[in-house]
Symmetry: C2
Subunit: 191 residues, 2 copies
């Protein structure tokens, strides 16, 4: 028999998330400690884990939410007419995704979902990303020899590659923007 009783639960969950957001605003994602979250939320540690399977899932939730906000903006934009347009549109999203090494790691770890039942917030945004990119590319003036879906997957792959390179000292200094532009020009307008 179903018991409603959602209000208390929802309040607790909201307090936990608010506490987490507060800590992140103050000291960044990496510095977040569960002890500190429950302290500020005024709950016991066990309560946290009754609401989130583990620390990563809280991060998934929060980071996924931020990404979703960027996608809302992206979705409202008109389809890019040039590779430069496309790169400019992606820049804010990429900036957030690389704001901390830790954030980028969490995103990579949760960009795929091992099972359909456990698609998290970040994995969902990647699905959404491909939809948005696909829709854009369906009537953008780029290559026509491969379907928009495949083009979109390539854009995702190069976006990640460009972000990964940002954290890497092996590659000589070249701005993120220039690098991504070179990738996407080669991918979307070959020949």
């Amino acid at each position: 028999m179903a018991r409603a009783q959602q209000k208390r639960t929802l309040e607790t969950r909201a307090r936990l998330i608010a506490a987490a957001e507060e800590i992140i605003a103050e000291s960044g994602f990496e510095a977040l400690r569960i002890e500190e979250v429950v302290l500020r939320a005024g709950t016991a540690k066990g309560t946290f884990f009754a609401h989130f399977k583990d620390k990563d899932r809280l991060m998934d939730q929060i980071i996924g939410g931020r990404i979703d906000a960027f996608l809302d903006t992206l979705e409202a934009l008109p389809p890019p007419r040039t590779v430069e347009d496309l790169v400019a549109a992606l820049l804010p999203l990429a900036n957030f995704m690389t704001c901390e090494r830790y954030v980028f790691d969490v995103i990579l770890r949760y960009s795929g979902a091992a099972a359909v039942e456990e698609i998290g917030a970040i994995a969902a945004t990647f699905g959404r990303q491909e939809e948005v990119f696909g829709r854009w590319l369906a009537d953008a003036p780029f290559r026509r020899d491969i379907p928009p879906d495949l083009q979109a997957e390539g854009v995702s792959a190069f976006l990640i590659q460009a972000m990964a390179v940002q954290f890497c000292a092996l590659h000589e200094a070249q701005s993120f923007e220039d690098r991504l532009t070179a990738y996407l020009r080669a991918w979307l307008t070959p020949g």
Copy 2:
């Protein structure tokens, strides 16, 4: 004044690595516990951390070594004449990199080095990978409108994308090989 004294150190280090390899052979990478490593190596925990900055660095070393072995094989191969050849050559490496979710995560985390001084084994293999790919692509019968280096970066990016998708339930079932082939055909032989 330099003290040689390398023999004892080298032996201890070898015992630690041997113990780690043993555990990995028995139960896989993810199951490795430092406690178990030092128990089998017959050293104290502190000794482990005198040899490796942290657990990840041990993994970097071991996984990097494995990848290097694959690259030795790759390097000896003649340049691929077709995309199928290329994919076939990459398959063993990709299989290893995706043998465990944990292994793939470590590889992603250490594929870039934040600073030149701390280029680890895995980061080095990525550098080497691009060289090998670059050399291959320099005289392969693929597109000629972009330099081999850029082509090589794209191959890396799509290789990672194809591996990431393997761990993701969002994408309908398609074999790793078919997916990578589609990516690389679109990348290397457009139009």
